[in-house]
Symmetry: D2
């Protein structure tokens, strides 16, 4: 109950949320909505839910939105909502990749906080531009690298921060799926279609869709900086224009070495994001499909199965867990943690803005330093990673600085 408990005292009004994309037939829109709702921190009140106006309208209706606040496109929504007294305070952008940059820009310029799906943009230039805009706006900007929301991922990170692994030597990270083993795009399946289309996905296929998650996970857990990488991207399914399998070697500035494998053509793998990190003192292993446990392997001692339970989970893990250990938490809970962390930042921001309401000597609410979520910097890193990998592979597999 960490989350509800910690939120309860300062509850107040829910954050008014809008959504771009995520209409009928989309997968990730529904996920974002549940994630926003789980801790009761947001209220969905507006949407530009599809690039097809009729679909946008129908989707809004189905979700019970006020028809007036069901917009045909994000620009109209940004404009109208920023002018309402009760306009949205934050927007979730859950469209195909090519829309992210422009939509994010529009809302930031309208003074609205942004929660954006990954990869942040389809080009590094766009990502850099966006980063500048976020910084100058002073607004909250979260990127849904949702896997960093799992308690045991945070536990792993904390172990490394505390030095319990010693010097990190080896990082093995993978993200394997099988849903594109055959040409699903040829069947017209919507999810597959845009992901294999360079116009909507950008230069990376598998690497952009899931490789970035793997990269981000390693980055989040280890805190190590990559110096250079070497990538071998393949498109195994005949006719596919973007990579569906990605094999990468990583060299870290510290001297550590890494391997990253991402694939969407590995039969038997549903959503197999896994990471292993080895240091001079210990190792850790975590698998997204069984996220409630972390294997912690101190050298020379028996491996330990760390769960979310008190006495096992470190504070950064315990504070983002809702139910006792043994009661499994899953993907939606991890995703919701990102939303709730962003909500805490938005609430702190609210306090900053409402200075007038506080009397003399009253301090602005300070953001709890424990609050952690992926920001525009993480989004930018991901796009840089994609660009470097595509470049390396394009040159036949050579080392490229990151």
């Amino acid at each position: 109950m960490a989350i509800e408990a910690s939120g309860a005292g300062t509850r107040g009004r829910r954050i008014r949320l809008g959504m771009v994309g995520g209409g009928e037939g989309a997968f990730i829109g529904a996920v974002h909505r549940i994630a926003a709702r789980l801790d009761d921190e947001y209220e969905l009140v507006a949407g530009a839910l599809s690039s097809t106006p009729e679909k946008a309208k129908a989707s809004g209706l189905a979700l019970g939105l006020d028809p007036e606040r069901t917009y045909a496109d994000f620009a109209a929504m940004a404009k109208a909502e920023s002018q309402r007294e009760d306009g949205i305070e934050a927007v979730a952008i859950v469209t195909p990749n090519h829309v992210h940059a422009a939509a994010a820009e529009a809302f930031l310029k309208a003074g609205i906080h942004v929660i954006c799906d990954k990869p942040l943009t389809t080009t590094l230039a766009d990502a850099k531009k966006l980063k500048k805009l976020v910084e100058s706006s002073g607004l909250v900007f979260g990127v849904t690298h949702n896997y960093t929301g799992y308690p045991m991922v945070r536990h792993a990170r904390e172990l490394i921060r505390r030095g319990q692994l010693g010097d990190i030597r080896v990082v093995q990270v993978q993200y394997a799926q099988d849903w594109l083993t055959e040409s699903l795009e040829a069947s017209g399946q919507k999810q597959a279609e845009w992901r294999v289309d360079p116009k909507r996905s950008g230069a990376g296929g598998c690497i952009g869709d899931i490789g970035t998650h793997a990269f981000n996970l390693a980055d989040f857990i280890t805190g190590l900086e990559v110096e250079s990488l070497l990538a071998d991207l393949s498109a195994f399914v005949p006719g596919r224009k973007l990579d569906d399998n990605t094999q990468i070697l990583l060299r870290y500035k510290s001297g550590a070495r890494g391997m990253l494998w991402a694939s969407q053509v590995a039969p038997g793998n549903e959503n197999n994001l896994s990471i292993r990190v080895y240091g001079s003192k210990a190792g850790i292993e975590w698998r997204q499909e069984e996220p409630n446990h972390l294997l912690y392997t101190p050298f020379g001692q028996p491996p330990q199965i760390i769960g979310r339970g008190a006495g096992a989970a470190l504070p950064p893990a315990a504070r983002v867990s809702r139910v006792p250990a043994g009661h499994p938490e899953g993907y939606l809970e991890g995703f919701a943690n990102i939303y709730t962390e962003i909500a805490r930042a938005i609430r702190a921001h609210r306090g900053d803005d409402s200075g007038g309401k506080r009397g003399k000597g009253k301090k602005a609410p300070r953001l709890d330093p424990a609050v952690t979520f992926p920001t525009v910097d993480d989004g930018l890193k991901g796009v840089a990673f994609i660009e470097a990998a595509v470049k390396s592979s394009g040159k036949g597999g050579t080392w490229v600085k990151l």
Copy 2:
């Protein structure tokens, strides 16, 4: 996305919900609230959240309830809410066991649907009385045997219904925990305290708290009727008045045989509810702590790992899953499934009640026959199980008819 999708078309207004119990310091109250919220089917608007009036008030405030609708006790709440135009349509009763019967009665008599925690009551007489009242009221009554909400549990049940296991021969079910390994109640921990107190828990300790879940799970999955049982209940921790370990043999009317073990003193077990069922053609195995997969073992063929994915999950499982396979769903999602199924029943009931709004020839909305949740009958079975086991054990471990 099965749940949102199927609900979307008929959305309409959320169900107004009240809650009895579940205030500060309670574990299960927060779980019920998240479960109610997950699919956006309920809106919590009233509460009698604690038996201590100040605590009830403070808890209501913390949850953002209208202070007017934060009641000191369930009787006041039933009365006041039933008189409001916008009164609650359903109530969740999440108190210690001894309050269930009276509270449920009060709300049923006030025409309010009830969602009640298990065990249903502390005596079989109370349970029978309640069943009659539910039947005469025509109201919806759900019991939160939440583990029946897991997709793979429903898959297992469907396999058996389709005859894929052949004649069921053996049922092995267990529910093991370790949190009462030491005398936690002596430390004043609230959850432990009432659970080991016969006045608040009833005649069963471990058997009532978790043994009933194990019994219900076997009942739900197999559909077999127990003829008699033999129980050996132990209280291992010095000074404990109620059982903390329960070992039971089951004889089914069909000739099948079962073993049920429930324990709260088994170190290393967090919430280890597991079931195995073996028939003349195949077996199944499911473990709550890794709920997203089911082991299906047809005789003479390799075991299959059944997941929630399309092509694997049968319709009764697929319809209660929200995210693609590989994206793990957990305890809260399963719990929410029970709430959402009950919401569907309440919506169907609403249609029945609002006859006036339908013109001639318009049929009352019919409840989708796929909707499945534990009812007062299941609650009653659970209480009968406890009573029989306590009786058997009290006689030194003899066979008792159920």
Copy 3:
């Protein structure tokens, strides 16, 4: 390399071994032969390998035995071998159960050490008689409850001896197989045929064949004495005369409680012997099908995965492991451990007998107290267990003293 290393110094001549049963078509004979050979402690030189003389002869030839030492029956073998200068020093009895008692008696009377398969005999009276004979003979008598040969089983036992589990409260042991799910005996399969025939198996089917192993495993690991038991035996396959499924409650003298399940009709279970023991301080869990690891669960701490590696395995486990951790050891290695432990006892016995060869002041070789193998006492306990269970079940499932 513990075993070879420790044996190397005192090597000397291999033990001359004979075998009764285990000819063509038998499963367990080949296992015994490999087990005897693995550590190079025995040399198979004689056999009465089948109750069918021609088969006995052919089997002996196939194994390369001297035709002169291939006997038509065990009586002839005991007689002839005991008269040879180079006669067998030990015999392995691997026949169907009904032959054990008479064969063992014949060899003991001939002054030959005995290694006997389990269950020891088909009646308790026979078992008691045999025990007396063993004691008066002073010979080595081992019973192949082979699962006690696994290093991690010995580790579990040592943990309990050292008090690391605290007071034992609960024992959950099972042995599940599926090979008799259908009427294999009707097909004439030899292994199935005799096992379901009361004349050759005795009064217990599944309980004698594998239930005794489960009982012995719990006995070996916990060291607890059973006070009484209650059994429910079933024969699920139509026409089967002996039980193929066994469910038992155990009450230990110490107040601990146990459940034992044995089944040969549980599809998906190949040889699923597993045990869990819970005490006031910790629990352990071990599974025969993945025997190289033991789960050790100290209360309030993360579970530990104990392997055979140095720094993890306690001395009683380390001394019966041959290869480094990570190099899995299996069924044959565990079985061989029993043979090698018995060899150590026979070597110590040899020393006692060969007093004349030692000069003054030379001490007789003393048996290393670490040497551990199941004896006639363990065999007797197993037969008592079968008899009590059959009696309990016959009375409709009542408590029977053990």
Copy 4:
């Protein structure tokens, strides 16, 4: 019982075996001896067990060898044994790497079959020379890439041969250990010492010791030819001269892609050799530490857990399994399979040599085409792999043809 049964009929005299290396303190010598003994195909009769003459003598005594046949060096042994009537027919070479080439040459020239540990030699030139010698000699030459002896590895290979995986796209293979996480060599531990010494190990450390096993496993299972590789070798432990961590990208001629990771500094990994292969129709996954099962994942169907049992294991797996499924087989059994396969080849060779004993029309015994073991070709491939990887890494990580 496949192995004993199939061998039984043609049994005959055991093969006389000698051993070079493997004296006191060696790990792998004892393994080879057990492997040779397990199926009773060999008889150890001679040895040059250590490079230190006294140690060689003592080790021979401890093993019960005839002192006359305990040699000070392999040259003396090759010479003396080839002149004896009852001289060894085969020799096992289990020394540090740098001795392999010269020793193998000596025995081949003496007309003695060779079983050689891996890597075959320390230079590619030596390996090529040896290959020629083997071919001209007509003798049997086996290399103990022992992991190819596991039944489920052979099952995996057969699945691919039958086309059940479709076109192979991705190979992920790893071999992770942790025993060199700290500077064990500094402590004087013998196993560590020579493995990190370029003079005795050759140019590869981790890559030669275990990387070759991983490479061989992928080669054996997939049958794919590598076109080029790119390697990044690291020596993480200060002062270590040879690599202790190896990361490699593989490009196959067919267009498939692979990743190979080998490490001896990965805490928590004992002997974690694992492989996953994905094709257009299905995938497989196998882990050495739980070798009795193979995960087979046909696309769009539930994953299957393939065991060694009848009805599951394909013939090439079933023929090298000794006990029923559920009775785990381990490292020694797999190792013994290599020895027994080589014995079959030696027996077939014996038949060729003894032509005079066969009358007209009697055919020479033909080697069963199912017999499979790693040959000098496999050994040569392994050395070429090491050399290419060291070269690639030395150039800063570039693509090198194989």
